[in-house]
């Protein structure tokens, strides 16, 4: 796979952007790939919906925006409604079953997982929800090796939270294990 285009969407507090950065950083720093990560900025850091575009490639990446993602993650109903149509035919659309009710027909593989629920059930800390999503995504798509993502998590997260995040990532991996690209 020479080039993967991903779009992560959700709401301000869900850590969508952090997840995007970790994924792209894993590709660059720990796998020697090229990657770009960009995001839409609202009027500062206040709530509202968020989108982050990631491109991972072994070649140079010029235009950094994603028009048709191979992989689309929607973590709110609003973002699902706005973005589900942009998915590339045959791509993967990952949603969380607590936040998103799948309504549309899209020419893609729609995967709904109860990630939030599981995080709350098993870990009990909503802050690591985004890492769980990332875990699920990696286990479904393997765009980057799990080891690389874990390394990126370790380098990004304060020491005291590494354990928690690792746990969330592995939980996500498990949840996604039944699906594959």
């Amino acid at each position: 796979m020479s080039r993967v285009r991903l779009v992560f969407t959700g709401s301000g507090g869900q850590g969508v952007i952090t997840a995007a950065i970790i994924l792209a950083e894993a590709a660059v720093i720990h796998e020697g790939m090229n990657a770009t990560q960009s995001q839409s900025y609202g009027a500062a850091a206040r709530g509202g919906s968020t989108r982050s575009d990631i491109i991972i490639s072994d070649k140079e990446i010029d235009f950094p925006e994603v028009t048709q993602p191979n992989v689309l993650v929607c973590l709110t109903q609003e973002s699902y409604n706005s973005y589900s149509s942009i998915i590339r035919p045959g791509g993967i659309l990952l949603t969380d079953s607590r936040y998103v009710q799948i309504t549309r027909k899209v020419d893609a593989k729609q995967i709904q997982l109860a990630m939030y629920e599981k995080v709350m059930e098993i870990i009990g800390k909503p802050v690591v929800f985004n890492i769980c999503v990332l875990g699920a995504l990696i286990s479904i798509t393997e765009v980057v090796k799990p080891k690389a993502v874990l390394a990126a998590i370790v380098s990004k997260v304060p020491k005291d939270f590494i354990e928690l995040n690792t746990q969330a990532f592995e939980l996500g991996m498990e949840l996604g294990a039944d699906f594959s690209w």
């Binding site: 009027a43 500062a44 850091a45 206040r46 709530g47 509202g48």
Partner: protein, 268 residues
């Protein structure tokens, strides 16, 4: 009129974060205007740039959202050319006292009949959490990873020294008190300043381990005390609340009217 009649409801819910003190200040302000039963057509609100400055979009007055730090200068133009208008100028702490500090002291010096409201959250909210001249030392901010070393202004002292003729301070926690001060300030003839301590849970609270909006409001309660109170005497490190200045001095627009009278007579 009902309180909500002073709002532009179509823009609600507003853009401020959950628990942002600026919302409470908006709340106090429209209540003050409502209780004074002012005519909406005779109110101009001028604001600068910042989270705080967005307040002007939510009120159903004549509203002028201007440049960072310059709200009082636009307001001066409005007021001097139409002295019968009530001019309200809410400002962020950076807006009012970093880039806007000079206009603040000069408006006070002129004693022009404008009401300045400093929505002091001790941080640059809009740009994501840099320290402000009201942060004070020892504060964590995105531009102070090793904690601030800058002292802060005392808004009350500065306004007083510059010549403001009404100066008061309250907090978002003391919403009722704040409303009362705002009413007095608006009715005061001359330059009035009301500093209202606000909270930015998103940037200040998070970085400085002050927790969420609720616990930040607790701090407004515990770290302040009314002027002349026993608490304040016993603990001078508390921030005093109250009305610090309320005096009369010739107001700029009225004085200018006299100039016009004189000049027009002379010229004839």
């Amino acid at each position: 009129m009902a309180v909500k009649d002073y709002l532009r409801e179509r823009f609600f819910p507003h853009m401020w974060c959950p628990g942002c003190g600026h919302g409470t200040i908006l709340n106090s302000l429209i209540r003050a205007v409502e209780e004074l039963d002012l005519n909406k057509n005779e109110i101009v609100m001028t604001s600068g740039i910042g989270c705080s400055a967005r307040i002007s979009g939510y009120v159903d007055f004549h509203s002028l959202h201007t440049l960072h730090g310059r709200a009082l200068t636009f307001a001066t133009g409005v007021k001097l050319s139409r002295p019968h208008l009530k001019v309200l100028v809410p400002m962020g702490d950076g807006d009012a006292l970093a880039i806007g500090g000079n206009h603040f002291i000069h408006a006070a010096r002129r004693n022009i009949d404008i009401t300045a409201i400093v929505m002091n959250n001790r941080i640059y909210g809009m740009t994501g959490g840099q320290f402000s001249p009201l942060s004070g030392p020892g504060v964590k901010a995105t531009t102070a990873p090793f904690l601030t070393i800058d002292s802060s202004f005392d808004v009350v002292e500065l306004a007083k020294a510059a010549g403001a003729t009404f100066v008061a301070r309250s907090t978002a926690y003391h919403a009722k008190e704040a409303t009362g001060y705002l009413k007095k300030a608006i009715m005061h003839k001359g330059f009035s300043v009301v500093e209202i301590l606000s909270q930015c849970p998103t940037h200040y609270g998070r970085k400085n381990k002050e927790g969420d909006a609720v616990s930040m409001l607790e701090l407004h309660k515990t770290n302040t005390a009314p002027l002349g109170s026993k608490a304040l005497k016993e603990n001078p490190s508390l921030t005093p609340r109250g009305i610090f200045v309320d005096v009369e001095r010739p107001e700029y627009c009225s004085e200018y009217d006299k100039i016009i009278d004189y000049a027009m007579k002379e010229a004839r």
